[in-house]
């Protein structure tokens, strides 16, 4: 039963990575979009794609934490103690990112909008990096079973830092691929090309970083490396194949389906890590899924919560994404770049549709 709960935890970590991770990646591309004038179109697309969904995607993080401490409290306490510094830095990034993003929408003065936007974008870059170092430190076996103090060496090892870079890059990759589809859906050729190039670049860097990390593991942690290329090999190969498929499809100008494949590739990396490590929770210690401090009743409760999530939360997410895909969620007149920022969207189809909505008596309810 502990294995099932471990699977639930890994599944919700995966969902946070492929959904929340893409929102972080959006911030990364926002950061790299250049000057106010040059970056207006990509920033508008990023903003529009993230706005209605980021909070819901963010909840996966809270859910991950809760499942972690409920099902594996001893391991949780050790991780939070040993890796306190990168976790604090990630927390700071999460706060600044969310607040910066929310504030930017409501601010009208350009200089303040830039400040809030910078908070959003910079923290989108830093947060996944620090989260990556945490995962890397766990995988590298740097977290002791009964930790009583923080260790800076734990998260600054080559494996941890490489994982940090890989996380940041993977977020940018996912966001790039998702944004290509968003641009294609809007029939925006310029943005489609713009994000295709960036998604391809991120894919190549992420692939290179993954290979570097593998090579680094080969020398620093041969046992883990042999399990990754042993029983986790199918997943590692799947991840590689997905990356290559996305690259090929993007080059061919056929973005349809790339989002699912890209997400599958990232999921394969995460599950590859899980399978390679199973059933050990904190490598290098005796802490496994079954002896990390919870009881049967707790496992049952977590499984019940997970089933409830599948019944209640998954259809709700489906509704949210479906409405988002049909571009229903645009918040009327208050988009940040559409009204206060001048001409980008003025007189576009959205304004006319708004006017038509109001004029149509059938829509008045």
């Amino acid at each position: 039963m502990a294995a099932a709960v471990g699977g639930i935890l890994l599944a919700s970590v995966t969902l946070y990575a492929v959904l929340g991770g893409a929102d972080f990646g959006g911030g990364l591309w926002d950061l790299l979009a250049g000057t106010t004038a040059a970056g207006r179109a990509p920033r508008a697309l990023i903003d529009e794609s993230i706005t209605p969904v980021w909070e819901a995607n963010h909840v996966w993080l809270v859910f991950d934490l809760v499942i972690f401490w409920t099902a594996f409290p001893q391991a949780f306490a050790s991780v939070m103690t040993t890796l306190a510094l990168p976790l604090w830095l990630a927390v700071g990034g999460i706060v600044l990112r969310g607040a910066g993003f929310a504030f930017r929408k409501e601010i009208t003065r350009l200089s303040w909008q830039r400040a809030a936007g910078a908070a959003f974008a910079f923290s989108s870059l830093l947060t996944p990096f620090f989260m990556g170092t945490v995962i890397g430190a766990i995988a590298a076996g740097a977290v002791p079973a009964d930790a009583s103090h923080a260790s800076q060496a734990a998260w600054t090892s080559p494996t941890a830092v490489a994982t940090g870079f890989l996380f940041t890059c993977a977020c940018g990759y996912l966001a790039g691929v998702y944004l290509v589809t968003e641009a294609a859906r809007r029939g925006d050729r310029a943005m489609r090309t713009y994000f295709t190039r960036r998604a391809q670049a991120a894919a190549i860097v992420a692939g290179a970083l993954s290979l570097t990390a593998l090579a680094e593991l080969h020398s620093s942690d041969p046992a883990f490396y042999s399990r990754l290329t042993g029983r986790a090999l199918p997943l590692v190969l799947l991840a590689g194949a997905c990356g290559l498929a996305v690259l090929a499809l993007l080059s061919a100008g056929r973005p349809r389906g790339t989002r699912v494949i890209a997400a599958l590739g990232v999921a394969a990396v995460i599950w590859g890590w899980g399978v390679a490590q199973y059933p050990v929770l904190l490598p290098g210690t005796g802490v496994t899924l079954t002896n990390a401090g919870a009881t049967q009743a707790t496992y049952v409760a977590v499984i019940v919560v997970a089933i409830a999530a599948v019944i209640l939360v998954v259809p709700s997410f489906a509704l949210l994404y479906a409405l988002q895909a049909r571009r229903v969620l645009r918040g009327g007149e208050n988009g940040p770049w559409s009204v206060h920022h001048g001409s980008l969207e003025k007189g576009s189809i959205h304004d006319k549709m708004c006017a038509r909505d109001q004029a149509d008596p059938g829509k008045l309810g």
Partner: protein, 466 residues
């Protein structure tokens, strides 16, 4: 808020070692988040009420208020989501001892809360960004899950706090949890009063908070339909719920006298277990003396057991080390909460009386001044209540089982994280207030030419002008 967290900081400073900054940080971040959480729990219902009236009666004013409030909701929900996440991290970063020992017990209600947090965030995305794009009633219904899951989520989180106050539903042997009874963990003894007390508090904070904005406008001479409607939509629900809140609070105090006698002793200055215990109004307890307080003989016994001879347990029943620090803070916060609750009750009664006799709002400026401060009063009362329950539980984090010192992190550097958090929260708090003020200014300017969602389009000339 700053007063309350200042008081908490002071209270935390009575501890020692790492516990001090850890408690200060938890108190500050929780005290900040809880205000946003109140709006997250209750504001959706108020917005939906306004939109319901707007749709049902084709009322442009109510609809415009709903539209604007949902924009405020968007900002508060976003900031609340991230400050709530900070608390999740802090559970492990500041209190690893608590999580190591009891994570598998108190995690269960947190897991359930996660489900409602999901539903809240998902439907907030649909509701907040679906204005004008979803048909009117479909849009209204998309907001209902936010209000419902706000309440259910609050129940789940308060379950954890109630469990910390009256722990149960598990067995432990040799320092490890051996079995968990999920139902008992979710509904510990104190849940019966803590859950409704917090949810009603959220409705009071949000309702009076909304009302105070428009009362301030009316005080400044903006006596139009827009301001009276805005005031009424917040004030009426909150004023109706106030007597229920006072009833629940009274029940809670009586139950605490039984469930956590030492906390109750601190709330009411009961030094020795005795009968004919007097009630102290205000007053500062120092070395066995109460200064500047009003003593009413027998009343505390009367309130607890409905008879002047009722025996009440004093804090002398436990060793000095097991008593909460700074009893005067706990007592004064308790009195402030009760006093402010009564003030809010009076404001509601005043409005009810005038409404009943004259079919209008009271005219005296005093009433509107009271309305203008009602939001702040509700926030302060709520913060004081948290000080009472949290400081009153000290030195325990899990009452009678684990001390706060045992729970705290053994890491250094908590002082550093505390300083950084104070700076970040200061900036975010100031920015949130600045943005709400800016929205208010923008709305006053735009009043003429803004199209009402789900209402008739503005005249063409107006639209061209804008």
């Amino acid at each position: 808020m700053s007063i309350a967290s200042g008081a908490v900081l002071l209270a935390a400073a009575q501890g020692s070692g790492n516990v001090v900054p850890a408690r200060a940080q938890m108190a500050g971040t929780l005290g900040f988040h809880i205000i946003l959480a109140c709006f997250g729990i209750a504001l959706p219902s108020i917005v939906l009420l306004a939109e319901f009236i707007g749709l049902r009666r084709q009322d442009e004013t109510a609809m415009r208020l709903a539209r604007r409030w949902s924009q405020v909701m968007g900002v508060l929900v976003a900031v609340g989501a991230v400050t709530g996440t900070v608390l999740s991290f802090e559970m492990g970063l500041l209190w690893p001892g608590l999580m190591r020992q009891y994570g598998s017990v108190l995690g269960v209600p947190f897991g359930v809360e996660g489900l409602f947090f999901f539903l809240e965030a998902i439907f907030a995305g649909i509701y907040l960004w679906g204005w004008r794009r979803l048909p009117g009633w479909a849009h209204w219904w998309s907001g209902v899950p936010i209000a419902v899951s706000g309440i259910l989520g609050a129940i789940s989180v308060v379950a954890v706090n109630a469990w910390m106050n009256t722990p149960g539903g598990f067995t432990q042997a040799g320092g490890r949890i051996t079995s968990v009874d999920v139902w008992q963990v979710f509904f510990p003894r104190s849940a019966v009063y803590e859950m409704p007390h917090m949810i009603l508090a959220a409705y009071l904070v949000a309702g009076f908070g909304v009302a105070s904005v428009y009362a301030a406008g009316i005080l400044r001479g903006r006596r139009d339909r827009y301001h009276y409607t805005g005031f009424a939509l917040g004030f009426v629900p909150a004023a109706i719920l106030t007597p229920f809140q006072i009833f629940v609070g009274d029940t809670a105090a009586r139950a605490i006298a039984h469930d956590q006698p030492v906390k109750f002793a601190a709330m009411e200055y009961v030094a020795q277990t005795s009968r004919h215990v007097p009630e102290w109004l205000a007053g500062v307890y120092v070395n066995g003396h109460v200064y500047a307080g009003i003593k009413i003989p027998d009343v505390d016994s009367l309130l607890v057991g409905f008879g002047p001879g009722t025996q009440i347990t004093g804090w002398d029943s436990v060793a000095p080390a097991d008593r909460p620090p700074v009893v005067w803070l706990i007592h004064l916060c308790f009195d402030a909460m009760v006093g402010l609750g009564c003030l809010l009750l009076l404001a509601g009664l005043w409005a009810a009386w005038t409404g009943w006799r004259r079919r209008r709002w009271p005219r005296p400026r005093l009433f509107w001044a009271l309305g203008a401060v009602s939001g702040l009063a509700a926030v302060v009362a709520m913060e004081c209540g948290w000080v009472v329950t949290e400081v009153g539980r000290q030195p325990w984090v899990v009452y009678g089982l684990q001390t706060t010192a045992q729970a705290a992190t053994t890491n250094g550097g908590v002082l550093a994280s505390l300083s950084i958090i104070i700076v970040i929260y200061g900036v975010i708090g100031a920015a949130t207030i600045a943005i709400l003020l800016m929205l208010a200014r923008r709305w006053r300017r735009d009043d003429r030419d803004e199209a009402v969602p789900y209402g008739p389009p503005p005249p063409l000339a107006d639209r061209l002008e804008s």
